[in-house]
């Protein structure tokens, strides 16, 4: 069963895919003091992959990302919990946050909170979960819409 793909949708999704991913990263980094954060960022990134799935099905999804979703989940959880453990091991309370300021040569001095690492964890967990759902939904139809039917 091969359905024809919508060329317009396909091209639009391809055009905005990377922009959406950038937006999700922006939300992730802006989240500490402004609207956004790991969860919102993760949802936007999930939307980007969701669009890929809508336009091209499971095949397009697996072509755009080769890491298994469960790895995202696990690495995300590791990030979140290790953030807490690092503060604990450095003599502070579990999950206590600290201000980090890094001198990046070109960009200049960047100030951020250690909460960022927790947020990265949340981002990855949300993304991993969504990818897992899409993967499960995508399993039912194994056909590849890119295959050209004579």
């Amino acid at each position: 069963m091969t359905q024809r793909r919508s060329v317009i949708l396909d091209l639009c999704v391809q055009a905005e895919f990377h922009t959406l991913l950038l937006l999700s990263l922006y939300l992730l980094f802006a989240g500490h003091n402004q609207p956004g954060g790991g969860f919102a960022g993760g949802l936007v990134a999930s939307c980007a992959f969701g669009l890929r799935f809508v336009a091209g099905g499971g095949q397009a999804l697996s072509r755009s990302i080769s890491i298994p979703p469960t790895t995202f989940l696990g690495v995300g959880m590791l990030f979140a919990i290790l953030t807490g453990c690092v503060s604990l091991l450095s003599g502070h309370e579990f999950l206590e946050s600290a201000i980090l300021s890094v001198d990046l040569m070109v960009i200049g001095k960047v100030k951020t909170s250690s909460v960022l690492f927790f947020d990265i964890g949340v981002y990855l967990v949300v993304l991993g979960m969504s990818l897992l759902v899409l993967e499960q939904l995508g399993e039912a139809d194994g056909s590849d819409p890119d295959e050209v039917q004579p």
């Binding site: 469960t70 959880m77 590791l78 309370e93 206590e96």
Partner: protein, 497 residues
């Protein structure tokens, strides 16, 4: 010190993260899961020693001071619950690794099991009402996966009941927390203990009754128990065993915590005692009516919850101490009974009384294990159940509640009766249904089960015997737990500083 309080939650979650990355490497998953849980058991032992020596232990997560941030706090009651539940969780994990077809073809078993462990540990250690809700959700979300793992038809059907009833209870829980917050402006339990006392008496009673209903659903108290005997027996045996041992007890723990710390004696004692009596009687009558080991034992979960509520309802140090000891004994015993039942099922393929018979000749070890745990459940001296029931009944006599004491003694007899029914049906006698593969073999064949399954069951029955052997010291600790529950000034002071 703060490391001790964090590890029971952080370690299982870390291990779950690693286990899900190692999605298809079962050996790695097993090593990590067992290693993490052994570490948590050791940690819980250190915590118990620390609480015994220095009193209540608490930390403020993220260094946000008490009424604002989340507090983790462990008193004697929490420490006792934590260590016995972690020992039980570890034994069941080893059993699950040994049982064919539990974790082998289920890559998510270990991560989800570890997440559930973290949720249970968080329920016992949190000092924040909303965080308790979060702990419940972590545990439940994991339990939804575990109860339907394998996806057989009846699992999905009764899993739906389980999920719906728990979602309903969770919704009520959030509503209750919102009311508590609206009335007091805080969700920190130590802070609540101070502020709820200043509310009008009617508001206090309403809030405490509402939370009693919420936790009553989780703990399967009459009349809110109907979902339990329906859903628990359908899961795989290790899952049923760990649910039976732990999840309802987390509900009972929350009832005891809220009814002593937040609302000291605001639910009238009579209501609790009547609920306790009905829970015991209906549970045991339900058990007598069943003809399947798993279903009989599931009804006994309900029945035994009644004893715990009975001890609480007396609101005396002796009564609450009896309850604390009773829960401490009940967690491993109940789990061990299910594990032994699992051994019967594994070797014969069934747990129906009519289909299995003569097991004492075929697997004397399993019969012995079941006998020890069953006698303990029924409260026969010198086993641990006897000590727990004796404590509660003595407290009942000294409080002058003769009616409920009479009921609880009667229920003990009926419990013994239904254990004898299992014994006669499964271990003595012969199978009535010749269609089973067991019956096809000659009656004297020895049946075998994987060594890890037997080992884990032996270990857990050993734990229940140890509880009986060290009943004196453990009862002393339970008494100290009860004193600190009924006089929470140390708890409040340690949290609020």
């Amino acid at each position: 010190m703060s490391v001790l309080l964090v590890l029971p939650i952080a370690l299982p979650l870390l291990a779950a993260a690693v286990a899900i990355i190692a999605y298809n490497q079962r050996t790695v998953q097993r090593i990590i899961a067992v290693g993490a849980l052994i570490a948590v058991v050791i940690d819980a032992a250190f915590l118990l020693v620390a609480v015994e020596r220095d009193g209540v232990q608490s930390i403020q997560v993220g260094a946000w001071a008490a009424p604002i941030g989340i507090t983790l706090v462990v008193d004697m009651f929490s420490a006792l619950m934590l260590i016995i539940s972690m020992v039980t969780v570890l034994s069941v994990l080893i059993y699950a690794i040994g049982q064919p077809g539990v974790d082998q073809d289920q890559p998510v078993f270990h991560p989800v099991y570890l997440v559930m462990t973290a949720g249970v540990a968080l329920s016992f250690t949190t000092g924040d009402l909303f965080n308790l809700f979060v702990a419940y959700e972590i545990t439940l979300a994991a339990s939804y996966v575990l109860i339907t793992l394998g996806g057989r038809r009846e699992q999905i059907r009764s899993g739906m009941t389980y999920i719906i009833i728990n979602l309903l209870a969770s919704t009520l829980f959030v509503v209750g927390i919102a009311w508590v917050y609206a009335a007091t402006g805080t969700v920190n339990m130590a802070d609540l203990a101070v502020k709820i006392a200043q509310l009008p008496a009617g508001t206090q009673t309403a809030l405490s009754m509402f939370l009693l209903v919420v936790f009553g659903i989780k703990a399967a108290i009459f009349p809110l128990f109907f979902w339990l005997p329906d859903s628990y027996p359908t899961a795989r045996m290790p899952v049923t065993a760990v649910f039976a041992g732990l999840l309802t007890k987390v509900g009972v723990y929350s009832i005891i915590r809220t009814q002593t710390l937040l609302f000291p004696q605001h639910v009238p004692s009579t209501i609790l005692l009547v609920c306790a009596g009905l829970t015991m009687v209906i549970g045991v009558l339900g058990a007598i009516a069943q003809n399947d080991m798993k279903r009989i034992l599931s009804f006994h979960i309900v029945s035994q919850i009644g004893y715990m509520i009975l001890g609480l309802g007396l609101f005396s140090v002796a009564g609450v101490a009896g309850t604390v000891f009773f829960i401490f004994h009940q967690i491993p015993v109940k789990t061990a009974l299910f594990l032994a039942t699992g051994l019967v099922e594994e070797s014969t393929g069934s747990t129906a009384l009519s289909k299995v018979g003569g097991m004492i000749r075929r697997t004397p070890l399993v019969a012995g294990l079941f006998l020890l745990a069953a006698l303990s459940l029924a409260g026969i001296p010198p086993f641990s159940g006897f000590v727990g029931k004796l404590g509660i009944i003595q407290a009942g006599f000294s409080a002058g509640e003769y009616a409920i004491v009479g009921v609880s003694l009667l229920v003990s007899l009926l419990t013994l009766f239904s254990m004898i029914k299992i014994w006669n049906g499964v271990f003595l006698g012969t199978a009535e249904d010749p269609t089973l593969r067991l019956a096809a073999s000659t009656g004297e064949t020895r049946l075998s089960t994987p060594v890890l399954m037997r080992g884990a069951t032996v270990a857990l029955v050993g734990v229940t015997l140890a509880v009986a052997l060290f009943a004196g010291p453990i009862f002393d600790l339970s008494e100290r737990a009860a004193q600190s529950l009924l006089d929470p000034s140390d708890y409040i002071e340690k949290v609020l500083g």
